[in-house]
Amino acid sequence: MTRPTFAKAPHLDVDSILADPSIHIVVCTGAGGVGKTTTAAALGLRAAEMGRNVCVLTIDPAKRLAQAMGLSSLDNTPRMVPGICAPDGSGSLFAMMLDMKRTFDEVVESHADPVRAQQILTNPFYQALSSSFAGTQEYMAMEKLGQLRVRAQAEGTWDLIVVDTPPSRNALDFLDAPARLGSFLDGRFIRILTVPARGAGKGIGRLAAMGFGFFTNVLNKILGAQVLADLGTFVAAIDTTFGGFRERADETYALLKDPGTSFVVVAAPERDALREAAYFVERLRTDDMPLSGLVLNRVQDVIDPEFTSEQAASGAQLLTELAGDADTKNAQEARLTAALLTLHAQRMNLAARQRHLADRFTAAHPGVAVSSVPALAEDVHDLDGLRTIGSLLARAR
């Protein structure tokens, strides 16, 4: 089989990334529905079977992919994946699914005394914030990555963490969400809201004196007194226990910028997915993030590239005309062959369109290395499926 090649792009050498002992984090990112989670899992398995001790952090895996890695429940703890075949028995693979709320709860529990923690955990505002998707999932994914990294360094459990990013509205959200949440919690808005709690009752009066009266009035009018009170309590509780959300966000951000991190942008050869990938590549460049390259999933492969779609299509047309409506053996054979030639022509056309899109990406981002994975007939159900994808990812040109 001739593999799909994107001649204009340098080749992404996946194995040299996975084998590089100085790489400790691989982040797979890209638009929704392009096979990000599968790519993360396949890279993790391949690294483990090359002898590394790997933990794969997935955000929202499809049921069967989770089963393929032996994950049956979302318990927020890395579980060992059985059935890893490393050459000298040295590698290992752990996998976990992120439980966003549980992660947030743990952060609270580890930073507050039990009474204060209870106060926060039962606050309606906290409950909504910790189970909402708007920014929290991104923040918690990064928080969990930070935690795993700390644990890996302290206990020597893992030397490589492969993380899949949340299915964000756009792929950039996860880079920005931590800083946004951090800057919000450290920001002026919060300081105003926490004044009542700190001032023990004198808050509103002090606010008025400070000229913020109109501001609280506005909030009261929009949110209602009860919401404002809950928000105030929540913010005060979280403020006094955490102090430094921004600091944590900055640490996570620094971790991502570290040369020990490798970003892999995942896309499919479709206009929207590649546009999103292009945005992401530009953003990583702007932020000096270590981009390794692009994985292009679901690429139509070509079995015989010399045999063009034009040849096949004209052959099919001729055979269809020859066969007409006749019911002879000859005519049946011609119709069958015409159908097969039509399939080949369609396949070549699709491959050409995909190549055009990929070349356009490469023209705009010439330095970005690409590895392409052919479209497979079925989804991945087991480790063997992941292994196949891993070896397709790693093929040399």
């Binding site: 920014g135 756009n170 501001f215 009860q226 015989d304 062959t337 097969l340």
Partner: protein, 329 residues
């Protein structure tokens, strides 16, 4: 032509797993519903500017713009809802507080409300769509016959639409709660239908099935399923069976290739064609299994073709035509 589906629906919500083409389907639906002199609004909430790309117009501002004419003289308008603008809009129309907006922005409150505060963003987005829908009841001059919402993906759709439950944990009474109730009054009513777009692949079909269950559990009105990007059958059933069984007649193919002048490279071509056919037949068999799972949902189902040249305006009209035939009009 089949009978008209969803005659009382004025808000069509279109969701689907990422990559299934939900923006394209939403646009085709807006075109179908605008036929014969009607006026529809296509609304986008994710800040992607997907509508502008699809209709080949400059990026849409937070303002209703005409983007296309429908067969028979209808009009499709489009609106890209920007959350921050929607918040200021909301403050102005409900509290007459537009001036406070800039102060709130300086305080970081606008950022908070639109990006971090759980549920608030969704209330604003759905709230704006519902405001447009309600214009028709009020007989406003800028009312639309139907509103099509290009909504967040299936995994988040029930949560996105069910703003009431998000907000109820936060606000049991008060203005935000009243607003959420108003929004839910339209969304969870027979005026709304939520349509899910899928491909005939395992993961999107599973998400569709889960999505339908989730929507039903949240008492949200489920509309139809749109199976997108399907390919017409090339092989007959018998040919398919032999392709899957690996017993396509190589000699017969070789003979035919000679007859159409492709005999020269038969040694490479014949095995390639057979492998491609086997691959194709496997894929079609998988698609058939997935189609059965979609049919089992017993919802109105539309099957849209993969447009060979990619999506352009002409392609959108073609898809709209199929939806119209199927009862979307």
């Amino acid at each position: 032509m089949t009978e008209k589906l969803w005659p009382d629906v004025s808000l069509h919500v279109v969701s689907g797993k990422g990559g299934t083409g939900k923006t394209t389907v939403a646009a085709a639906m807006a075109l179908a519903l605008a036929r014969d002199g009607r006026r529809t609004l296509l609304v986008e909430v994710e800040g992607r500017q997907g509508i502008a790309q699809l209709f080949d117009t400059p990026p849409l501002p937070y303002e209703e713009r005409k983007v296309a004419v429908a067969p028979g003289g209808g009009e499709v308008w489009a609106l890209a809802i920007d959350t921050q603008e929607a918040l200021l809009d909301y403050l102005e129309s409900f509290y007459n507080l537009k001036r406070a907006g800039s102060a709130l922005r300086r305080m970081g409150a606008v950022d908070f409300a639109t990006t971090i505060a759980p549920g608030l963003r969704d209330v604003l987005l759905t709230g704006k769509a519902v405001e447009v829908v309600r214009r028709a009841d009020k007989g406003a001059h800028d009312a639309y016959d139907a509103v099509v919402l290009d909504a967040p993906p299936t995994g988040r759709i029930a949560k996105f639409l069910n703003v009431n439950s998000e907000i109820s944990g936060l606000a049991k009474v008060g203005p935000i709660r009243n607003h959420a109730d108003l929004v839910m009054g339209v969304i969870a009513s027979p005026k709304t239908a939520v349509h899910l777009v899928t491909l005939l692949e395992e993961m999107p079909v599973q998400e569709t099935i889960d999505g339908v269950a989730e929507l039903r559990a949240a008492n949200l009105p489920v509309g139809g399923v749109i199976v997108n990007m399907t390919r017409p059958p090339v092989l007959t059933e018998d040919q398919m069976a032999s392709a899957i069984g690996g017993d396509l007649p190589a000699d017969a193919i070789r003979r035919s290739l000679k007859r159409c002048g492709l005999g020269a490279h038969e040694d490479e071509i014949v095995p390639a064609l057979i492998r491609e056919a086997e691959d194709h037949a496997q894929r079609v068999a998988l698609e058939d299994r997935e189609m059965v799972r979609i049919r089992d949902l017993a919802l109105p189902t539309f099957v849209l073709p993969l447009l060979p040249g990619g999506i352009d305006l002409g392609g959108l009209y073609e898809l709209a035509e199929i939806l119209t035939e199927g009862g979307v009009r």
